[in-house]
């Protein structure tokens, strides 16, 4: 006997909800918003096994739009010294721990005390579990025919934008690993071997092995090319990245302050410090560990003009990472800053904390004589406020009368918040002044990332975002912050409507 099922009645369009890869859900009625802001940057309930197209994406330091989850994992991996860990990406994570972390990630929590092999394992797992392998589009024959660097490069250029961005991000990650080969024993071949099988779907066991070997060779070539390109584009400017480890996170690193001088690279290889002469490398204190921070928390370079015009670069919007309680979670975002007066480069700022204040050095006479003494930093407190402090508020709170925050002058605000800090990083381009390193050593400044983008990269970003590149019209502080859902919003709504 057949049963008739009636048509739905009283159908109304309540809302049209879309999922935007950069903004998350758009048009979602407030009652459907999640009580706890979730970090799962995905249209699905899982951050794994979902195609990159349906994931929320952010830009990495090189302008690749990749799923935010990967950037999160990468950031945490770098923060915890994963790049220097022996056998990173080769060693399997503990099965139980990995499962637990997956659950947490899917619930929007990014805990702090994760094993680095777990983070690395999940990055590999993310690629492995994609519905379609990143390099599946390339046929085994195509890959087989690639022998030279140029051939490999030409081949990967044929990848669609999503896959190309993912691959470029992964190659950068692998290159970062290989750069620490002395510590982690992972050379280009080793890294390529462990990544290769995750970039393709294994169908037929017989051909899969052969294909995996070829993909491995392709990856190896691309990694070596990336490393070569990095070397080529090193410019004299230096960046000091100073990092304060997370208090209480790990006893062994808690007491060490880390300072690293990073070469800033320009995509075009053009010297950016057109200022007066050379910059100096800050000495790494003997008792400090060297931390390399890339992508998220990084690279900052400027010429003397930057300092002189620094006043025009305003404090920008903030983005945040989930803090340890998991309550506050927001998208990592990059803020595009451009000097009003038209520096040739553009500034992409990636932030890593609840609050950010990016305050550039005021045009004080003392600093004018030290042209590279631009300082950018940002504060992080235990508060869950999302607002950004602007420069003035920082000055009020944090600085002594003349607003000086320079070497030797420890910012009281920053110090006062020491106990609340999750992490800290300080980026500074420095000239020849000696006290900066001392100052850095005394400072507790949380993570900041600044990266100078070449025009090409900036255009690339704008192009991907559908913005017409326009060099005349400087973008002051363009935020890529995802709309966040304050905790109280839904509660407020429910209250207003008598639902609570």
């Amino acid at each position: 006997m057949e049963m008739d099922i009636g048509y739905p009645t009283d159908v109304r369009l309540i809302a049209h909800v879309t999922f935007d890869r950069l903004q998350g859900f758009l048009g979602l009625p407030v009652e459907f918003e999640l009580e706890v802001p979730r970090r799962v940057p995905s249209a699905s309930t899982s951050a794994f096994g979902v195609s990159a197209e349906s994931m929320q994406c952010s830009f990495d330091a090189f302008g690749n739009s990749v799923p935010t989850i990967l950037l999160l994992l990468q950031e945490r991996l770098y923060e915890q010294g994963g790049l220097k860990t022996e056998g990173i990406f080769r060693i399997n994570p503990d099965n139980g721990k990995e499962e637990q972390l997956r659950k947490q990630l899917n619930n929007g929590i990014v805990p702090y005390d994760i094993d680095v092999h777990c983070l690395a394992g999940l990055i590999k797992a993310w690629f492995r579990e994609l519905p379609k392998g990143v390099l599946d589009i390339l046929s085994p024959e195509q890959v087989m025919e690639c022998h030279t660097e140029d051939q490999c490069f030409a081949l990967v250029k044929t990848l669609p934008p999503t896959e190309a961005a993912l691959l470029d991000w992964a190659i950068n990650l692998m290159a970062d690993v290989v750069q620490e080969e002395a510590c982690n024993k992972m050379n280009a071949r080793n890294v390529a071997v462990v990544f290769a099988p995750n970039m393709i779907q294994v169908l037929d066991p017989l051909t899969a092995l052969k294909h995996a070997v070829q993909v491995m060779n392709l990856l190896k070539t691309l990694i070596l090319k990336k490393l070569k390109d990095r070397k080529m584009s090193v410019i004299p400017a230096r960046v000091v990245v100073w990092k304060e480890p997370l208090p209480g996170e790990n006893g062994s690193i808690n007491s060490t302050k880390q300072l690293k001088v990073v070469n800033v690279t320009s995509p075009k290889g053009t010297p950016l410090n057109r200022g007066n002469g050379r910059t100096e490398v800050t000495e790494t204190p003997e008792n400090s560990n060297v931390t390399k921070m890339k992508s998220f928390t990084q690279a900052f370079a400027a010429g003397s003009e930057m300092v002189e015009k620094a006043g025009s670069v305003h404090g920008s919007e903030c983005g945040s990472f989930a803090d340890s309680s998991g309550r506050e979670s927001r998208s990592e975002d990059g803020n595009l800053l451009e000097n009003q007066q038209g520096l040739s480069g553009r500034w992409i700022m990636s932030t890593a904390s609840d609050e950010i204040s990016s305050d550039t050095v005021e045009n004080r006479p003392a600093e004018k004589s030290q042209p590279f003494a631009t300082l950018l930093r940002k504060g992080r407190s235990s508060s869950t406020k999302n607002q950004c402090r602007d420069d003035s508020s920082v000055n009020e709170k944090g600085s002594s009368g003349d607003g000086s925050r320079m070497p030797g002058n420890v910012d009281p605000l920053i110090c006062g918040e020491k106990s609340h800090r999750k992490d800290g990083a300080h980026v500074s381009l420095q000239g020849s002044q000696k006290p900066l390193s001392d100052w850095l050593h005394n400072q507790i400044v949380p993570g900041i990332g600044l990266r100078l983008m070449g025009e090409a990269s900036a255009e690339k970003i704008e192009k991907r975002r559908g913005i017409k590149p326009s060099m005349e019209k400087p973008i002051l502080a363009e935020s890529r912050t995802r709309a966040t859902y304050p905790l109280s919003k839904r509660t407020q709504y429910l209250k207003n409507n008598g639902m609570v």
Partner: protein, 206 residues
């Protein structure tokens, strides 16, 4: 027939365990008596070794599998027909030890076709005594719980490497059900009583 068969028994042994525990190093030490910093294994590798035990000529094919997660689906097809499985962990990394019961023993159960196949638990890297986190007692307890043989060894210093394989092979020799199909092909065919193939076989023998 004068030279006799090439070997009395042909055994298939399998090395499994997490990435980086030293499976390939163990095998390299056993077959070539060398030690080197090795790259991760791609898929599966295998090596041959002839040895004589209890007056019997034994031909060992040792399959060295990749520890990488992605290859698990692929390596599982190599469990078939193995008489001995060596489960390797790194005594300096507890994860490799816990993953044996969480992952690798389950793989063995699922894919192994020999019910009686001998499992051997091997704790590698005992040369790094300062960094040791898994004690010998824990290894023994694990072996007892899951019915495995147990040894601790070091591919770097050669300690117990040969012994690992010998003990495993001796145990296989003591298990009649595992010896059934291990003799050279001639006997196999005779056993199955396929007269037609018998003539072919004898020609190949000469």
């Amino acid at each position: 027939m004068a030279s006799g068969p090439e070997f009395d028994h042909l055994f298939k042994l399998l090395l499994i365990g997490d990435s980086g525990v030293g499976k390939s190093s163990l095998l390299l030490r056993f077959t070539s008596d060398t030690f080197d910093d090795l790259s991760p294994t791609i898929g599966v590798d295998f090596k041959l070794k002839l040895m004589t035990l209890r007056g019997k000529k034994l031909k060992l094919t040792v399959w060295d599998t990749a520890g990488q997660e992605r290859f698990r689906t692929l390596t599982s097809s190599y469990y078939r027909g193995a008489q001995g499985i060596i489960l390797v962990y790194d005594v300096t990394r507890r994860d490799t030890f816990t993953n044996l019961s969480d992952i690798w023993l389950k793989e063995v159960e699922m894919h192994s076709t020999n019910q009686d196949c001998i499992k051997m638990l091997v704790g590698n890297k005992v040369d790094k005594d300062q960094e040791r986190v898994v004690t010998k007692q824990e290894g023994i307890a694990f072996a007892r719980q899951y019915g495995c043989l147990f040894l601790e060894c070091s591919a770097k210093t050669r300690l117990n490497v040969e012994k690992c394989f010998e003990e495993l092979v001796l145990k296989i020799l003591d298990t009649p059900s595992l010896l059934r199909d291990t003799t050279s092909t001639r006997k196999n065919i005779l056993h199955t009583g396929l007269q037609s193939e018998n003539s072919q076989e004898s020609s190949s023998c000469c």
